[in-house]
Symmetry: C2
Subunit: 148 residues, 2 copies
């Protein structure tokens, strides 16, 4: 698995400017192999080993820049808010139950066939990095009915 280091290498190779806040955000995302909200990222940086608090503005701007470079994914997790993750982390996805809110983690392999088909049929390289699929979980299914 790739770490924040390879991301940083890539950025330098590309000639992008690497500043302290940028490095901190990348490290925060790299260290936690989780999806983080803006707030999580700030917290992480502040707690972890640096006692530096980045402004919202900066975190937003760094994330936008990383997204443009294709290094970060953004996912709307509904209730939880919008979360970000390094695309180099092992991809995974979530099933989210609309009724009870339970979340189930999915392996990325599940999307291999779909990726293949999109590439074959549309020439489209899908970046399915962190998908959130909503629906009804097993338990909640046992009492719902649906419209005609």
């Amino acid at each position: 698995m790739k770490t924040s280091d390879s991301v940083i290498d890539y950025i330098q190779a590309k000639g992008e400017r690497l500043t302290v806040p940028r490095r901190l955000v990348i490290e925060a995302l790299g260290q936690s192999h989780e999806h983080l909200t803006i707030g999580n990222i700030q917290q992480h940086i502040q707690e972890d080993h640096h006692d530096h608090l980045l402004s919202d503005t900066t975190v937003y701007r760094v994330l936008q820049w990383l997204k443009e470079l294709g290094l970060v994914s953004q996912t709307d997790m509904g209730q939880t808010g919008t979360v970000y993750a390094l695309m180099s982390n092992p991809h995974h996805h979530h099933l989210i139950c609309l009724t009870c809110g339970a979340t189930i983690t999915l392996e990325d392999e599940l999307f291999t066939p779909l990726r293949g088909q999109l590439l074959r049929d549309y020439g489209f390289e899908a970046r399915i990095d962190h998908m959130a699929i909503y629906g009804q979980c097993r338990n909640c299914l046992n009492r719902k009915s649906k419209p005609e």
Copy 2:
């Protein structure tokens, strides 16, 4: 294809309370076979034949209620904002190119295998009504490189 009528029938059969604002929102969504933002919905209702403006509050609340009933899908379309659609409309999905912004419409059938697998493996009934998949389109693929 199902119209707002069958949605209304369903709601009444379920014993849910049907008010004027609720009916207007359902009709707006049913008439435009598109995905609408909150603002679109209000506009639609005001222009279309009623000159009644619903408050944001009410539209949000009606949509939340419809989502809970499983009658409406919600999709974050990035730039465009969050859009809503009656789930009774024929499902379709979008490929969105991160580079040039092109959008490609997908048939729903593409997701049949995935749905089947999620149900089989996880007992999860996925509600994939209006998915947005980001990536690189055919044209833009021909010049991109990616980090190691």
